[in-house]
Every structure is written in structure tokens, then in C-alpha cells.
């Protein structure tokens, strides 16, 4: 079953005539005549989970926003689409933006109706110029379908942290992408220009037309009980055929790597996999053999499904070198707002750099653990805790490789 990838193999499906021939915008008027609460119920019952990494319930998020907006008589409500996929290993939303942008637009129209949103904002990372152009073209083509509803496309400018929803909202508002403090009340929604809003990932919103047109039961008919439906999974790194493929949740990770990724390249042995974008804790080969692609399975290994972007490492790869590269990324991309993150990422990087260059001491491994303690739970957003997971995953599961580089 294909929820968002049905038109990926159809030539010119990014053009509205072709997209329409294959079901885009079908029954839209009828759908828009439904009560917004009905659409909300469908999404809620489908069990749709956010596909940008967090995996939270989409229906619950929508209900919170609508309840808050009604309670406070909010004059405006917004729908914000997060198209800022910037995490190493994550490369799926661009397929929707390039190959089937009308699916996203249709999802936006239906979702905005369900939410009572007066306008939608799509934030696309700055490096995705092709995707930015593709979506803008599609919006122009879909003028009749939009029927006066406005979609504003924002282009980021190279800041990974703007994938964090509140940093993204700050960025749209023209500020530095600094994540906001989270409210104590989890039912409080996010705000754009002071009005309540919902921030959803591109793939999440692109899944809505399928659910509304086919029913929540159809979406729940595949996947697992707690992770219903399907997702675009990606595999990259040391495999023969890196790819993006939509599959139901619950697929065996090793099967995905072998069947769709073409297996580990150059006849080498599998060593490790980072399962869900670089901030998910790394898995050893044994864990990969047991893992399935759903939120619960990865949680068992103290990792996360995240964006479903698997990075595969073969037995020739030095894990301390991989950690060094990832810490370069995180040090560069920390927004600098919180001291533990700003200082901790760079400190961790310098320690690992020392180890990789053969200048490390055994005590450096303890220093890395101390840095992780400092990174965890003491910052505004989850960037620093994610870096903690990355470091701890590497230094505990591949400790011997770090020790082998130390001449203490």
C-alpha cells in the first residue's frame, strides 16, 4: 500500500494535469463540505504519527490546537509545514516536494479545513532550491483548487536547528532560529505571529488525503498496532543501492537493508546502523538483526525510529571517525542559545578529535560521559539530549574501538 509514494513512478506527476489523472484533488469539494471535526476524527482514529522524527500523535496535536483556539477565541489559526529536513541520513520529504507536490497541497487544503486554519506556511530548507521551485510552481498550477486559500512558501538559509518546530517558527518570524521554551501545559499549541498553529512534517500532511479518501481503517490496515500505516524509509552509506522506499511500519530492518538497499557493499560485513537520522542512537549488528522499523522496536534498543533514515556502516568503517564527523556536524549546527549545548558539543568534538588522533587518554572516555550528563535535560530543546544519545551510543557500543586508539 502506498500512502504518499503512489505517484513517484509516474512521469510528470508533478504537473497538475497528470496528478489529476491519477486522483489528485478528486472529491475535494465533497471533502471540504465535511464538518472539520469529521476530518479531525478521521486523522485521529487513523493513528497517524508525525513523520518528521518525533512520532507524536497527529490527531492529538490537532485537537489540542483547535481546543485552545476555540477556548481563547483566536482570530487566526495557522498550519505550518516543516520541510526543513536537514539531519544526516534524512532525505525523504524532497521526493514528495519534487515528484508529487500536488499531494502535499491537497493535504494542506484538507488539513487546513479540518483545523480551521486561515493560512498555511511551508518552510523548506535553503539548500532545497529544486524543491522550493517545484512547490511554488505547483501552488501556481493549483490556483483553482486552492480557491483563495493562501500557501506561503518560506525558504530557510542553512540552519539544521530550524527543523525544530519552534526554531522554525522563529525563523519564519524573521528571527534567529532559536528554539522556544516549551510550555508546562502539554496541551498548549505552538504559536506563529501570536496565533495558535500546528506544525507538521511534509510527509505527515501528505498522508492526510489517503486517510480522508480511503478511511482511517484503510490506513490502520497496515503497519503495527501502535505504529499504524506506512512511512518513507531511507537507506544510505555502505550499501549497494541507497534508496528511499515507502513501506508499512514493522518491516524487518535487515530485510530493508538487503532487499531495497541491495545489502552491504563490496562483500563486506555489516557493522552498525544509525536508524533514524543521525541523532538516533547507533545500533550494533546484533541489534539490527532483531530490529523492526517501527517506533516501539527501536525504543527497545534505546534508540529511535526518527525519520526512518538508516545509515549503514560496514566492518571497514572506524566508528570513532564516524562520531568525530557527527560531532563536527552538531557543533556547527548548535544554535548557541543554551550554554550546555553550545559548549558541550564543541568540547565533545575536541575530546573525540584527540582520541582519533592518537592523543587520547582513558580518562577521556569518562570526560565524554560527563559531557553527556551535562547535555541531557538542561537545554531549551532536544538538540543537546540527542547529541548525548549519539555520543553514548558510540562510546558504549563500540568502546573497544575507542580504547584501541588510546595509548595511555
Amino acid at each position: 500500500m502506498q500512502v504518499v509514494s503512489a505517484k513517484f513512478d509516474i512521469k510528470n506527476a508533478n504537473q497538475i494535469e497528470v496528478a489529476k489523472q491519477h486522483g489528485a484533488y478528486s472529491n475535494l469539494k465533497q471533502i471540504l463540505s465535511l464538518e472539520p471535526s469529521h476530518i479531525m476524527d478521521l486523522v485521529d482514529k487513523s493513528g497517524l504519527r508525525g513523520k518528521g522524527g518525533g512520532g507524536g500523535s497527529c490527531g492529538a496535536k490537532w485537537k489540542n490546537m483547535v481546543a485552545y483556539a476555540s477556548k481563547t477565541n483566536a482570530q487566526k489559526r495557522y498550519l505550518v509545514i516543516n520541510g526543513d529536513e536537514s539531519e544526516p541520513g534524512t532525505c525523504k520529504d524532497k521526493y514528495i516536494l519534487n515528484l508529487d507536490p500536488h499531494l502535499l497541497i491537497e493535504g494542506i487544503i484538507i488539513s487546513a479545513h479540518g483545523l480551521g486554519a486561515s493560512r498555511a506556511f511551508v518552510y523548506i530548507r535553503g539548500e532545497y532550491e529544486r524543491e522550493f521551485v517545484s512547490l511554488n510552481n505547483a501552488i501556481k498550477e493549483a490556483k483553482d483548487e486552492l480557491d483563495g486559500f493562501e500557501i506561503v512558501v518560506y525558504k530557510g538559509a542553512g540552519a539544521y536547528v530550524c527543523g525544530e518546530k519552534t526554531a522554525l517558527l522563529e525563523s519564519i518570524e524573521g528571527k534567529r532560529g532559536h528554539p522556544r521554551l516549551k510550555p508546562h501545559d502539554k496541551k498548549e499549541p505552538d504559536f506563529l505571529f501570536g496565533s495558535p498553529c500546528v506544525v507538521n512534517n511534509v510527509e505527515t500532511i501528505a498522508s492526510v488525503p489517503f486517510i480522508v479518501k480511503n478511511g482511517w481503517e484503510a490506513y490502520r490496515s497496515f503497519g503495527t498496532e501502535q505504529s499504524p500505516g506506512a512511512m518513507l524509509f531511507q537507506v544510505s552509506g555502505c550499501v549497494n543501492s541507497p534508496c528511499v522506499k515507502e513501506l508499512p511500519f514493522g518491516y524487518k530492518m535487515i530485510d530493508f537493508i538487503n532487499e531495497f538497499g541491495g545489502g552491504v557493499w563490496r562483500g563486506r560485513e555489516l557493522k552498525a546502523v544509525i536508524p533514524g537520522g543521525s541523532s538516533a542512537a547507533v545500533l550494533t549488528k546484533d541489534e539490527v538483526l532483531k530490529a523492526t522499523l517501527d517506533y516501539e522496536s527501536l525504543k527497545e534498543f534505546k534508540s529511535a525510529l526518527g525519520t526512518g533514515g538508516m545509515m549503514v556502516f560496514d566492518d571497514s568503517v572506524s566508528m570513532p571517525n564516524v562520531l568525530l564527523n557527527l560531532l563536527e556536524f552538531y557543533t556547527e549546527e548548535s544554535c548557541g542559545q543554551c550554554t550546555p549545548c553550545r559548549e558541550g558539543c564543541g568540547w565533545g568534538l575536541r575530546v573525540v578529535e584527540k582520541i582519533v588522533h592518537g592523543e587520547g587518554k582513558m580518562s577521556d572516555l569518562q570526560t565524554l560521559k560527563d559531557i553527556c550528563y551535562m547535555l541531557d535535560g538542561k537545554t531549551v530543546c532536544v538538540f543537546a539530549p540527542a547529541v548525548k544519545d549519539v555520543i553514548m551510543g558510540f562510546i558504549t557500543k563500540f568502546e573497544s574501538e575507542f580504547k584501541a586508539l588510546i595509548n595511555d
Binding site: 532550491e129 540552519a159 539544521y160 518570524e173 524573521g174 564527523n325
Partner: protein
């Protein structure tokens, strides 16, 4: 020559202004307009934006300082930015960067003497399944190899020599 908006550009800015609830939300789109046209945003441009749009100069300066893709100084006409993240490294981006440095006769971070090429690195470009990849200006190039890189550079050189 300093930057000036065309009447059409000013019209599109006003259109966008009507869709946002705070003028400051124009900062990113407007900076992109300047950078697309002249490749960077200088101090004079910031002051021009402040005068023209009534948005404080510090807001523009802040965004330029924060976002990696905004240039505050002139670069080569074609800025080649290689992805330096692990998936590209695993698939040979380091070797490709060395090849490119030799081809252009410049090192990472430098600009060629003819002002045509700048060489840089970028964090993950989101093309992990088609690594290695790079940006040439804003154009994305994936599944790169030496042949593809060489022919791109040759093509750019030829196009610019015939102008």
C-alpha cells in the same frame, strides 16, 4: 553598484507583507532576493533594506550572521559547496574534493583568480541516498564522480569564456 529593488520586486514584497502579521517576517525572503541577484548582502544593502522597507537593519544583520547560506562578502560567481557529512564521506567526497581542488587550482575556502569559482563545504545537503553531492550556487548535484564534476566545471568555463 549597490542593490536596488525593481518595481516588480517591491510589488511582490508588498504582496508578501499582506500575508504575514509582522513585517519582520519579510527578513528571510528579502535577504534571498538580494543574495540571488548579487551573490552576497553587504552593509550598504542592509541599510538600503532598512530605508526601503522600514525594518530595522539589525534584524537583517542578525539573520545574515546566523544563517549559513547568507554571504556577507562577495564569493566566486559559482560557489561549489561539497557536503561534508558522513554519508558523503563514506562514498568518496574527500577524494572528490581533492580532485576538485586540483582542477580549480585552489584550496577549500578560496576563490579562483578569475573570480569564477569558490570552493566550500556544507553540512548535510539532504542527498544521502545519492551521495556524494554538492551545491553549485543553488543547483543541486548528486551522485557525483570525477567525470561529472570535470564536465560541469568545463561547461561553466566555456559558457563564461564565450560571454
Amino acid at each position: 553598484m549597490s542593490f536596488k529593488f525593481t518595481p516588480e520586486e517591491l510589488k511582490s514584497i508588498e504582496e508578501l507583507r499582506s500575508k504575514v502579521d509582522d513585517d519582520r517576517a519579510l527578513v528571510m525572503p528579502v535577504l534571498w532576493m538580494v543574495q540571488r541577484k548579487q551573490g552576497f548582502i553587504g552593509n550598504d544593502d542592509i541599510l538600503y533594506l532598512e530605508r526601503e522597507l522600514g525594518i530595522r537593519a539589525i534584524f537583517f544583520a542578525e539573520a545574515i550572521g546566523y544563517f549559513a547560506m547568507f554571504n556577507d562578502a562577495k564569493k566566486g560567481k559559482y560557489e561549489l559547496k561539497f557536503c561534508k557529512t558522513i554519508t558523503c564521506k563514506l562514498r568518496g567526497s574527500d577524494e572528490l574534493i581533492k580532485f576538485c581542488e586540483n582542477l580549480l587550482g585552489i584550496k577549500m575556502g578560496e576563490t579562483s583568480s578569475d573570480g569564477l569559482f569558490s570552493l566550500g563545504e556544507s553540512e548535510c545537503l539532504g542527498y544521502c541516498e545519492k551521495a556524494p553531492c554538492m551545491l553549485c550556487g543553488l543547483e543541486q548535484h548528486a551522485e557525483l564522480n570525477e567525470e561529472k564534476l570535470e564536465s560541469l566545471i568545463q561547461k561553466i568555463r566555456q559558457e563564461n569564456a564565450s560571454r
